[in-house]
Symmetry: C2
Subunit: 450 residues, 2 copies
């Protein structure tokens, strides 16, 4: 009795009611990923050390495996995957001649990181990634497919009120270079702009951002132009932005804008409503790392939404492993973290205690055969049906249905059976009626829909 059975810290487990929600979220994600022709794959839990460490990573965060009397056979040192990207790169490198390109895959699996205790952080958590990989130049349409798929998914996950901000990575840089801001200073300015929303509550004058920029650049006029640039993009419509770009008369701006507009238009065509997308050239977080278009997703009621969802685009996925070049764009939903945020902020629209639709009561052995026939009929119609395992008091069984949150209770008594009917109790609206025993599945299905 001295064995510790409490959960291991930061390895969360769900109660059955919570698991229903997690499973539902996984289903929604999977359905939406499939719809946009992403292929499902799963990779093995463990990877070789040389693969895991091929990407920059803090060794200390990786869980390594060992075994009593480990035999050093053909096996290298093995560790648990810490993301789904390194395994994807290894998988594509390994199977590169067996895959058909463009290769679009989704992967919903748990990953493992030894991280210091922090809110919203786990050591075992679900990631739900989509990626598009090509052995060819990857067109912007790939980005659009990724964004529209993520939009559809988040939207169905009750994730109202979020905005997808898009930018071309050279936009802000080009603008700043035009103001003769280069190199070190350029990076510093970008870093200040990146923090502007956290620095200032005043989203019109941005006083603190302004002060920091003035301190760095020693030029009030230039700083005003930067602030104006940020404000313009935040507030104007696409048409007005286009006019501004034209009036600016810089060819490279026109070219970048054309690409952004292409993405924007395709997103609209592919389902994403206008109010969810914003062209926002002040987005700068990933400018150093990523190529082409950059995105960010903001959510109104949770400031660090970026931490539950992230996006990437690289020139080459497999550069560590093979010579072939595979450009690649992807997005990840941090499912476990998303769920914990939703739970913590009580934003869940979906509440259900059980997936069982019907409980058939077990009253007396002599009705057993009839009861099991009804159970069989309901299950044949894919209605999730429970039969109480022992014959006991009706009140006890009804109490059980109530505790479990089962909606329909069916009772078969002699009198009813002789008249070919069943008593059906709707536990939610607390009504009881008699239904025809022969059409029981049809009637329950109809009830469930109404």
């Amino acid at each position: 009795m001295d064995i510790r059975i409490d959960n291991i810290s930061w390895f969360p487990e769900n109660l059955p009611e919570e698991q229903i929600v997690e499973d539902r979220y996984k289903d929604i994600i999977r359905k939406n990923y499939l719809k946009a022709w992403f292929n499902s794959i799963e990779t093995s839990l463990v990877e070789r050390e040389e693969v895991l460490c091929s990407k920059w990573w803090d060794d200390n965060e990786i869980y390594w495996l060992h075994r009593l009397n480990w035999e050093f056979s053909d096996d290298s040192k093995l560790g648990l995957r810490f993301d789904l990207t390194v395994p994807l790169a290894r998988y594509v490198a390994l199977n590169n001649d067996k895959l058909v390109y463009p290769f679009k895959r989704f992967q919903i699996q748990k990953v493992y990181r030894w991280e210091r205790a922090q809110r919203w952080r786990y050591r075992e958590f679900y990631q739900a990634d989509i990626d598009i990989i090509w052995n060819w130049e990857l067109p912007l349409l790939a980005d659009c497919e990724i964004i529209s798929t993520i939009f559809n998914t988040l939207n169905e996950l009750d994730f109202w009120k979020f905005t997808i901000n898009i930018n071309h990575k050279d936009f802000l840089i080009g603008f700043l270079e035009k103001l003769w801001i280069w190199e070190d200073k350029l990076l510093k300015v970008i870093s200040i702009i990146d923090k502007k929303d956290k620095l200032d509550n005043d989203k019109i004058n941005f006083p603190k951002t302004r002060a920091l920029l003035e301190e760095l650049l020693w030029d009030k006029e230039i700083v005003s132009q930067i602030i104006k640039f940020i404000l313009l993009w935040n507030k104007w419509s696409l048409a007005k932005i286009e006019k501004f770009v034209w009036s600016d008369n810089e060819l490279r701006f026109l070219d970048w804008f054309k690409k952004l507009k292409e993405v924007y238009t395709s997103l609209l065509n592919l389902w994403v409503p206008k109010r969810y997308i914003k062209i926002n050239p002040s987005i700068s977080r990933w400018l150093n790392y990523y190529t082409w278009i950059v995105f960010e997703t903001f959510i109104d009621w949770f400031e660090s939404f970026w931490s539950v969802s992230s996006w990437w685009r690289y020139d080459n996925l497999t550069w560590n492993f093979i010579k072939n070049k595979y450009p690649w764009v992807g997005w990840s939903i941090g499912l476990s973290r998303l769920l914990s945020v939703i739970w913590a902020t009580s934003k869940l629209n979906y509440q259900i205690k059980t997936l069982t639709d019907v409980l058939v009561l077990n009253i007396d052995e002599k009705y057993l055969k009839k009861c099991l026939e009804v159970v069989k009929k309901l299950r044949k119609a894919w209605i999730n049906t429970e039969f109480y395992l022992e014959h006991s008091k009706i009140s006890k069984q009804i109490k059980y249905a109530e505790n479990k949150g089962i909606r329909y209770v069916l009772i078969l008594w002699e009198d009813e059976i002789n008249r070919w009917v069943i008593a059906m109790k709707d536990m939610f609206v607390r009504e009881q009626k008699e239904i025809d025993i022969l059409s029981v599945a049809k009637i329950i299905k109809k009830e469930m829909k109404s």
Copy 2:
């Protein structure tokens, strides 16, 4: 380029086409488990050493975790789960006051065992378990629910031609005791009977089994009675068996037979067709370990089917962890091994290369908007739709659809668009026709069904 990217031995990975099959199998299992009101749960990958080793297990088969500069904080030594039963026992012990009983759970997760290389054995593999746990005496109906659920599942998994053999554990023992066979000798006789089907091809005379029994018992008459007993049960109908039991006039036989008959009848009522069940008192494999009724499943075309599916019933699930008593019955399908057997023996009835239903071709930028509208419409109707990512030669895109095994190809040209139609190519029957652009989703859905 020197990094090893090949799969780690006995950690199998699927190609996308194979993953479609595995996902489909998982869906079928899950759907059937849900239908019979089992709850989904997932437990964490890692368990404390004291939990893992609470059940008898070869330490050497467990994968343990370690970390660089491991800090011995509140964490015990951790290892990967090697089955889903130990985690279930720990989960029930931990949450015992939050669960509603009878607690029926299913769990489809991977488990990890360091095992010596063997055919059909992996070190990472999927198990799909169902279990019923009660804080009360667990009625035989629980066993029936388990068996009928496993039957429904295997049946939908294209698993034709298997037989579920049922027995009451005291039946064979009682019969042998009546012949004055006791203790050591009893166990030896049972062990010979257990191997009879492997020993003898002649399933009527069982010459080798007979010889072994005679060598042990020195009594031809008694051996003949044993063989007759085995044969009777293998060949006779339930009614004839019942008559035999009655004529035997032994009260305890009658009692056991009543229980067996109860299970048998409930199974028939719950869907399992007669030809799949056999009462078989010569089943002896688990007599020493399990209580009450015992089962075995045989499959015609694969002799060691038992290794892909196993069953158990115990008096107490959580005895290692808490004082409360939880009787418990369960069954496990070894999904990964099952799939590998099915692949190896080419028994798969289901072949599909992609879950994408439709490819919309990308011919010219000027049709982009129209194309994306069609894509959006199809996806809205949950038709898995791919849009080719770049405009390129039609022949190249058609070739791509062929390689991927996509059935419907949609082509939007100027002339067609003006007439509000789309050219639809059915790649399987190699036909092309024009379909109405406004009802595209409806038409494709109809085509897919036909």
